[in-house]
Amino acid sequence: MEPSTIVWLLPVPPLLAFFLIIFLTNRNKTFSHLLGITAALLSFVGSMVIVTLAIRSGHLGEEPFTSVINWFPTGDTWFQIGVWVDPLTVATLFFVAITILMIFIYSVGYHNFGQPKGDHDQPGLPPHGATLEDEHGHKHRVPSIEPMYSRFFAFISLFAFGMYVLVVSNNLLTLFVGWEIMGLCSYLLIGFWYAKPSAKAAAVKAFLTTRIGDVVMLLGLAYLYYLAGSLSYDVIFSEETLHLLTSTGTPFVGISAAVLIGLFLFFGTVGKSAQWPLHVWLPDAMEGPTPVSAMIHAATMVSAGVYLVIRVFPIISAGMQHGEPTITMNVMAFIGAFTGLFAATIALAQNDIKRVLAYSTISQLGYMIAAIGIGAYVAAAFHLFTHAFFKALLFLGSGSVIHGVEHGVLHTGEDIDPQDMFNMGGLRKKMPLTFWTFLIGGFALSGFPFITAGFWSKDEILADAFAHANWPVLIVLAFAALLTAFYTMRQITLTFLGKSRTKSAEHAVESKWTMTLPLVLLAAFAIIAGWPGIPGDFPLIGGFIPNFVHEFVGETLAEHPEAITFSWIPLLISLGVSLGGLALGWWVYRDIPAGAPDPLEKPLGPVYKLLKNKYYFDELYNYIFVRPSLWLSQTFTYLWLDRKLIDGFLHFISRITFSLGSIFRNYIDKPVINGFGDFVGESVKRIGRTGRFIQTGRVQQYMVMALIIAFGTLFYYLFILSQP
């Protein structure tokens, strides 16, 4: 089989699984999850085959696996779609396939497969637990199975389909299709527990916010198609097209088409990857089930945004001369770095275990965007790669924690929020596997030196910033990294270390193997995923493994980026910020008694309140956008324009029409037309009443009559008509 054939087949199993679950197996939970996992496994195996083939092919950058078919005619040419596997795709495919499979397996445990049905669970609400009675008559409450279990697997299958389409497509249009499918799925999944008002609102918010980015991105696509005549990668990234784009002017002074398109596409990323100012939807999206959070916020959807900007890097960097960043890149560097710091500060003051992770995701994505903004293309891809593993790990780990605490809540009957870190503590002993994997993930996120993958990728970004002498970015990112390490340690300390602060935390239990197995596997990846990216000239350990990421992913670009030379300064910075942040985090939060406030609250004062309320961005947006548009629609458009002006006019017309109608009715319709109609009807009725006696219901009489008529007709034709 040709590699490209396999690539074509990659998105198919999840799609099939989606339809099969929806149409056939939705009543049977076992079949549904088997279908979903089988599909994910098939795609996973296919992806690994592709990855192996790609690595062995040696010069994938020049000759990607590609295959093209005609889709729809555009004038006298065809719009072509196809698949495209180059090193960037391979790297993305690798982590996407693994994380998706892990999340599928994890969902089985997370949704309590094998547990009894809930006592009063209903679709649209999270399971409330079931009461079991053992042989001694003791009643105890246990977690109950998700009522919409099959639906969940259908949705995440569709989601996986969208992601695979996005990754393997060879043009921006099918990429956009996959992008939008994921948008839809994220809406459906965030609002999975649709009976919860908060989940419903979060779903709508996520959908609308990302929509803003998508519309702008579509504008960019349209403009690009208008200029280049195609959206296929090999066309739009060719020398001629890039030259054409840079040389075409736009109505905005001093901005070339390339810059405009780049900004438009980047804005799509801002929406999808939750960058400032469109970051508001992502923390709210935590209302969805945890596997969804992991799927959307770690592995797939938000990385899709970064993937897009890495993919269109040739356009973004078009016109770059002598290493001078373009306008687009400057904008990206600014937004990325700003978001990185901004989100990290918010994360400091959050108590919800998942929200902390959400802000950390925003922050890390900002990192990547900033890296691209300074031209560190490979470093961004590398960080994307490692981040996917450890962030998925962290989310799944947090899900496991929540699950454990929920178990405790069910057991004790306490009325507490199982997601609040201040209600936890001391879980290290209760959930050892979760603790160790979470620790590895957290250290990777903080960039714990040398061991974890996060260190290498983050270090590379800092090193790049240093090499490009981009001091503001370097400083901001370094500070953000410090904060990251701090709040990560805060999270770990609050959750796992110290003593249990509630009874529920005391009764927490380790999750099932379906949940912990993905954790262990992902933890392994959170460590080894960094090794292929160790710089070759790193002291002592550099050079054991060739800097694979740099060689391989860098091939994607026409001109290979220069490998930066090793320098001690960024290394020391990253060592300092990570270890410092971790130490500080542990020191501040090492011993919090139950019910105590956050130790940062007093020293920071009003700033803490600002951070806790996320800089009042939700309120700001509410005030600037939501309320005015509500006013516009409710008061202005509905009451004034619609009810008064348009309706008034219409009522006037209707009154005239009505009187005209009654004239017609009384003087034409009733006497003339109705009279005629009644006459016809009455006549038919009278004839029928007279003639119905012919129908006696006796078959033989009918036959005799038919014969008489037949004979008469025959007689007429033979003897009368045929007479000359």
């Binding site: 033989q700 009489q701 005799v704 014969l707 004979f711 025959l714």
Partner: protein, 170 residues
Amino acid sequence: MTVMQVVFLVTAVVSLGGAVMVVTTRNLIHAALWLILTLFGVAVMYGLLSAPFFTVIQVVIYIGAIAILMIFAIMLTRRVKQEPGSSVNKGWWLAGLMALVLFTALVWMLSTWPGFQTTLPELPQDFDSIKVLGAALVSTEGYVIPFEIASVLLLAALIGSVAVAWERKS
């Protein structure tokens, strides 16, 4: 008068007499037995027309199956041995008139047809009508489609009659 003519005439008289009895006898069982006689006469007619296959299947199907099924049905649907009242309906004279008119018309029209008096042609040498018929019924050049449709019809009738006559236990 050849032997064949004698046989024909005897058979014709017996069959037609039987047929008249079929439509006039009040006792339905007797009518059915007369029907069998008539069908037997028709079988002989097929023999005279050198169609032995039809002779035999006339006996198998009409006498062996149809007539016996009818007797069966008569016995199943009979409450008293003799139904009271007339065995014909009120319009019987009109029906008889129709039959007479039809017969006259048919004979008159046939007699004006030039092929009416066709004499018996010799059958070709070594002509095995069963072989030819069998081959024609299943050959794609012949009548395989009508044949198959007839098979499907029989199957449908089988299922249909079972479904119709099924006594549902309430």
